[in-house]
Symmetry: C2
Subunit: 402 residues, 2 copies
């Protein structure tokens, strides 16, 4: 059945070249990622927030501003509408006004990658794709493999050997072809770039197809809806490839044009690890693009991206919203992870923990004012990272007491 | 603020002794677990399914039939309202009418244990408890540790050394005191029984406090609500301690009295592993209680429970609904796990996979008829079990192609 998607075209944010959305497209001929455009005036006429409220609790409730045209192509595992959990104890400890965590651990596959994969694979199916291929730090590969399996599409995945082990098993169990690489995700990307022309696979590398971002942007829609169509003062996001922050910024601009939120946008904060902080470096220099970060390393594996294809879009989101970029140490990541677990009961991934580390610094510097409402984006469940913490636990004898 | 909970008492299902719900209670003096009773006539007057539909998507939407009296005691991480995912490809392959998976992997902590912990810890807080203590196969401990952390309650946990490693880290990160035991969960239980009088801890072992089951029963409410207040023909559940199946049966009876569903109940199926099948043995003998299963062993660690305290309630649920109990081999569990991943894109825990194994047998024997609607309960995310599958993956050289 047809969906009232208001998609109109794929448009280059750099050179403004427009492309037909009914054809398979990757990058613009100028080399930039493409963004999906919608007829938002039409969308505003045919749907309102009251209608959306009564739809099922998945990201597909925002169907007018999603790219899929026929609901038979929708592959859903129930993704989206993740919790916006109040972190009252930590808010009190550090004198935040209100602090919420958008908890993307509570989603199929355990990470926010499910959003991009759900929309990306559904649209790939609609476009008649038979094979998807990608480099991954693990979680994206696992998510795309899962949705590809549901679609009956073959998945070809390259991941660094250091990627979280469970993501290998998820991908292989889903039937994907997985190859390991003794290198970084950027090395995987280079291998794939050489391999794709041989096989004529559909390249779903970060931002190389335009639809992953459409899935990710729904985090922005949900945050606004969950706050009663108010926006917070600050949204902070762990930034590797940056698709999420680009998507949230896109969602905010769309919602403003739809009239669903007011004019004022939240300040968007890109949080990185000190061991891989190309966006933070660029922000310090007020640069429009980042430079490749040398010898990158961090336990927050998902944000170990030395040079992101969409770096200029991340920086634009930061600058245009008067946000900022901040880096945290490995020690600060672990401290924040333990604070979230022991004070709030939320066991997050290191990337999500990094965000709390960054927010503490910004609060300390009074960049975030007392009384402001802040949303921390946790991109995944801590349970996908069994080795982040190491404990030696006491044994109790079978005939003993504790 | 007060919640219109319709709780009236704690009642023994064996000897019918009634207890005041405003006091801390564990087992009945006759040794049986206690069940929570509600004034369902009052509940039916003050709430209807239309009102519930408009409440937030957590298990707390069923507040009239939950035991918490004051919403300041509610500890929520956004648990409940998990997806009911259609498994159309597998349904077609095995000629099920409709096959759905209630996916309890999409919940805080990654398993259905979050439901029991959310309600159990909230009620413990309401009762003034300062220390909870439990034996666990891992996931329950992790969930109770998380919610206890959020409540500011201390948690004392005993788990077999073979329990999933990630659950140790979750528990310790949340600030729980964790002790490992070279034995089974039953050995942990014995140590705890000796230790509790020393410390005066609140015993939250399976069914030893009456509120965990109230959290678990919400799975039953959600299945009915998600099917438009219709019940399926069959609900199949991986049975270890059995709290979930007891809870679902309790929910079904409550909903019938509330007038939210019709008279006919689904047939409840208890699925166990051949390596630990005490309920299946009892069912074969038409017994009312099970006998301890010797030398139990299975990769479906969560259902390795040789003798459950609530066995008689599990068997009652099976007999009263004209359900059955069925055991599956380790090989059938792995096969089902891979089918779910590769055909549906759902990466489940071995316990959830066991259920599909059982359903295939029952369909094969025509115990489940073609055309019947079946709900498979997956109790947790496969990502919590990194070692269930072992693959040797090919490496691709950094300068190579795939």
């Amino acid at each position: 059945m047809n969906i009232p998607s208001c998609i109109t075209a794929l448009v280059c944010p750099k050179c403004e070249q427009s492309y037909d959305h009914r054809e398979i497209r990757h990058l613009c001929r100028c080399g930039s990622p493409l963004l999906v455009h919608y007829d938002l005036e039409r969308a505003a006429r045919i749907v309102d927030t009251g209608t959306i409220k009564n739809r099922p609790a998945t990201l597909w409730r925002y169907q007018e501003v999603l790219p899929v045209l026929d609901d038979r192509n929708i592959l859903s595992l129930g993704e989206g509408c993740t919790p916006l959990t109040p972190l009252s104890t930590i808010a009190k400890k550090y004198a935040f006004g209100k602090l919420y965590m958008k908890d993307e651990g509570v989603i199929p596959t355990g990470t926010f990658k499910a959003r991009g994969a759900a929309v990306g694979v559904s649209k790939a199916k609609e476009l008649g794709v038979r094979d998807v291929a990608m480099p991954t730090n693990g979680n994206a590969g696992a998510a795309w493999a899962a949705y590809a399996a549901r679609a009956g599409i073959a998945a070809h995945i390259l991941m660094p050997e250091d990627a979280p082990r469970i993501t290998r098993n998820e991908s292989v169990a889903a039937g994907a072809q997985v190859h390991l690489v003794r290198g970084l995700i950027s090395d995987c990307g280079k291998i794939l770039a050489r391999s794709i022309p041989i096989h004529d696979w559909y390249d779903v590398s970060t931002l190389k197809e335009p639809y992953r971002i459409e899935g990710k942007k729904t985090m922005g829609y949900e945050i606004a809806e969950q706050l009663g169509w108010q926006v917070p003062d600050v949204i902070a996001y762990p930034t590797g490839g940056g698709v999420g922050i680009i998507g949230i910024y896109k969602a905010l601009k769309e919602m403003r044009r739809l009239g669903w939120i007011g004019d004022k946008l939240p300040r968007l904060v890109a949080v990185q690890a000190e061991g891989c902080a190309p966006i933070v470096e660029a922000y310090r220099k007020k640069a429009k693009e980042s430079e490749a970060f040398p010898h990158s390393q961090t336990i927050a594996f998902g944000i170990n991206v030395p040079k992101a294809l969409g770096d200029f879009l991340v920086l634009e989101a930061v600058y245009q919203t008067e946000g900022c970029a901040v880096a945290v140490s490995e020690k600060e990541i672990i401290e924040a992870l333990l604070e979230l677990a022991s004070l709030e009961g939320t066991f997050v991934c290191p990337e999500g923990a990094a965000v709390l580390g960054g927010l503490k610094k910004l609060r300390d510097a009074d960049w975030i004012k007392a009384g402001e409402t802040v949303v921390l984006l946790n991109t995944g469940a801590g349970i996908k990272y069994p080795d982040t913490l190491q404990y030696n636990l006491p044994y109790c004898p079978v005939d003993g007491t504790v």
